[in-house]
């Protein structure tokens, strides 16, 4: 199993300030991030996301605890980690007096990309983030969203097996954010591991296979998205949505008689059913009955929203 982990964090503590006098930004975090996953990291402002990410790539040192990235120790082998990891840091900047392409070619040099491939690779990554036609413009002429895209491009330069993005879509327009999500999905298909912190809850639902919620330097929950859905469902109930025509009083009555159904709400031709347990196996045969078949247009389970999951774990699970 160990072989399949891209990142393994054990009881990580980070206290800022000399002699452990300052703020405890990470308070004993343990995490396992599987290879080839798209891992979402959320938490409110100041919860320790950036601190965790910075430790993973060796920009800062942990106060105690261990972490391994791609099998390398974050304290002793951080250069090996940075050789294999593309990072979009928080609050980054570029050399304004240089063009986007010049910036990337310079960074590609430090990424040890052979000199004959640097320009080609830089242009490829500019294309991936939709900046190819601005390649030869100075970064000083770029908008905030364009700078953010350039930030994503520089993380892609070395075509790394692991990508770490700290709030990748900040300042990017919805269209660009959607493009970014597609980029993440396609990279994930290639077998790359992606770790991203974000404030946008829906973003996680859209692209992530796994997620963790952190708060006050503590991990509230982690797991695959399905596992997270499941635990919220277990606590808050299972929901199903029916789209109906008319004359369904009989149907609703039958649904109400299923044990553990807590609530049925009807809003014109829109019915939601809340139940304490999974009742899909009973609902489906019911709506398929000949007498109801024509009255029911559709039936589907409703996943908990990311807002719900987040609030659920913030309130302590």
């Amino acid at each position: 199993m160990k072989m399949d982990l891209a990142i393994e964090v054990e009881n990580l503590v980070k206290i800022y300030g000399k002699g452990g006098s300052g703020i405890k930004a990470l308070d004993g975090i343990s995490m396992k991030i599987p290879k080839a996953s798209t891992y979402g990291l959320f938490g409110p402002n100041g919860s320790g996301k950036t601190t965790l990410i910075s430790i993973l790539v060796g920009l800062i040192l942990p106060t105690s605890g261990n972490a391994k990235v791609l099998g390398f120790d974050v304290v002793k082998e951080s250069v090996e980690i940075r050789r294999r990891v593309g990072l979009l840091p928080e609050g980054f900047g570029f050399y304004d007096h240089m063009t986007a392409l010049e910036n990337l070619v310079f960074l590609a040099t430090l990424d040890k990309i052979p000199s004959d491939q640097r320009k080609k690779r830089a242009l490829e990554t500019l294309e991936m983030v939709g900046l190819k036609d601005r390649a030869n413009d100075k970064v000083s002429t770029f908008s905030r969203g364009m700078r953010q895209r350039l930030g994503i491009a520089q993380a892609l330069l070395k075509d790394p097996e692991l990508l770490i993005f700290d709030e990748p879509t900040v300042g990017i327009d919805p269209e660009g954010a959607a493009e970014f999500r597609n980029l993440v999905k396609s990279m994930n298909k290639e077998g790359k591991t992606i770790l991203m912190s974000t404030h946008l809850l829906y973003e996680v639902g859209m692209v992530c296979t796994h997620a963790a919620v952190i708060r006050g330097g503590k991990l509230l929950v982690q797991g695959s998205v399905e596992e997270l859905y499941q635990s919220v469902r277990e606590a808050k109930g299972y929901r199903y949505e029916l789209r109906v025509k008319s004359g369904i009083d009989m149907l609703l009555q039958e649904i109400r008689s299923i044990s553990d159904v807590i609530e049925i709400k009807q809003n014109e031709n829109h019915v939601t059913v809340l139940s304490r347990r999974e009742i899909w196996g009973e609902l489906l045969p019911l709506v398929s009955k000949p007498q109801f078949k024509d009255a029911v247009e559709s039936l589907k389970p409703i996943e908990p929203s990311w807002d719900e999951i987040y609030r659920f774990y913030q309130e302590g699970g």
Binding site: T51, I60, R82, G93, F94, F106, L110
Partner: protein
């Protein structure tokens, strides 16, 4: 790794030599050097003409300008070297590459050494050549050797300020702070310390003997004409000697003082009013042996601050 440091140095070098900041300083240095040869040349030339070395007066004018401009050159290259990258967030992008923190600061230092050497050498030779042509003065091999030595000391001097300002830049997260502190220290060493040192000397020694007050009230130029031992009583000269001793003890804290000590002997110009401009130049080996301590201080100063910058920068964590 050295190759990473060199990659950073190459970019840094290109940035600097295409920057307005550098050429502004080089331009001002040239302009002031050449202009100041006009103001000194007629004043000092007579003394040197007797010794057949009018060229030395040109050098001393250039050396005086360099004493002010070399520190500014060093500061201009260093004050935002680290803090600027920190401010703009480019340091984060750099440090997320597979390189060591050492490479970043090494690259900066290598580039600065190259730029300072280039700028000081170019502007010194340009100033000397222009002045020699303008004043139509003959130059000997010994003069050229002195200029070369002067260039070496000026590079080290400028680099000393670079190292100091780099140290401040490493500590600060705002370039404006770093600039203010660096310039403040420069002003202190270049202007304030010498004033303070004579104030302190006067405080220690008490007021100078009364008779010489008349001479003090005269303008600099006239004053010089009176600097003959026959006019001043022995008592006054002793006072001045002791005052100079105390004052130089205090000024020994200033790197500028050590630099001026070396160049003034090299080009034979007076650094304080009571001194006589030398009529013959001290030979180069004698200059070096007489000013050995100043030379050592000039070299040790940047090493200390480079080392300190290095230790702080490589140990610092940057989120």
């Amino acid at each position: 790794m050295i190759s990473d440091a060199l990659s950073i140095a190459r970019k840094e070098f290109t940035d600097t030599i295409t920057s307005k900041r550098l050429w502004l300083i080089v331009g001002v240095l040239l302009l002031f050097s050449v202009a100041s040869t006009y103001s000194t040349i007629f004043r000092v030339i007579t003394a040197f003409q007797q010794a057949g070395r009018p060229v030395a007066s040109v050098f001393s004018a250039i050396a005086t300008t360099m004493a002010y401009m070399a520190p500014l050159l060093g500061i201009a290259l260093a004050f935002d070297a680290i803090s600027g990258e920190r401010e703009r967030g480019t340091l984060r992008i750099l440090l997320s590459r597979p390189i060591y923190r050492e490479d970043v600061i090494n690259g900066k230092i290598i580039s600065a050494l190259a730029v300072i050497s280039l700028a000081v050498t170019l502007s010194s030779f340009a100033a000397v050549s222009i002045s020699i042509l303008l004043h139509n003065i003959a130059v000997t091999m010994d003069d050229i050797a002195r200029v070369c030595l002067f260039i070496v000391f000026s590079i080290v001097f400028s680099f000393a300020y670079y190292a100091f300002s780099l140290f401040i830049s490493t500590l600060s997260s705002k370039s404006s702070h770093s600039l203010i502190i660096s310039i403040g220290i420069w002003i202190f060493f270049a202007f304030i310390l010498s004033a303070i040192s004579s104030l302190i000397a006067t405080a220690v020694l008490g007021p100078p003997p009364v008779r010489s007050f008349q001479a003090f009230n005269m303008s600099q130029r006239q004053f010089r004409n009176f600097t003959s031992p026959s006019i001043f009583p022995q008592e006054y000269l002793d006072y001045m000697r002791r005052e100079a001793e105390i004052s130089s003890m205090i000024q020994a804290f200033s790197i500028n003082y050590h630099y001026t000590q070396i160049t003034s002997l090299l080009f034979g110009y007076a650094t304080r009013p009571i001194e006589f401009s030398r009529r013959t130049l001290t030979s180069i080996p004698t200059v070096i042996s007489t000013r050995l301590i100043d030379i050592v201080v000039l070299i040790v100063f940047p090493i200390v601050f480079l080392f300190a910058s290095y230790m702080i920068f490589t140990r610092r964590q940057e989120k």
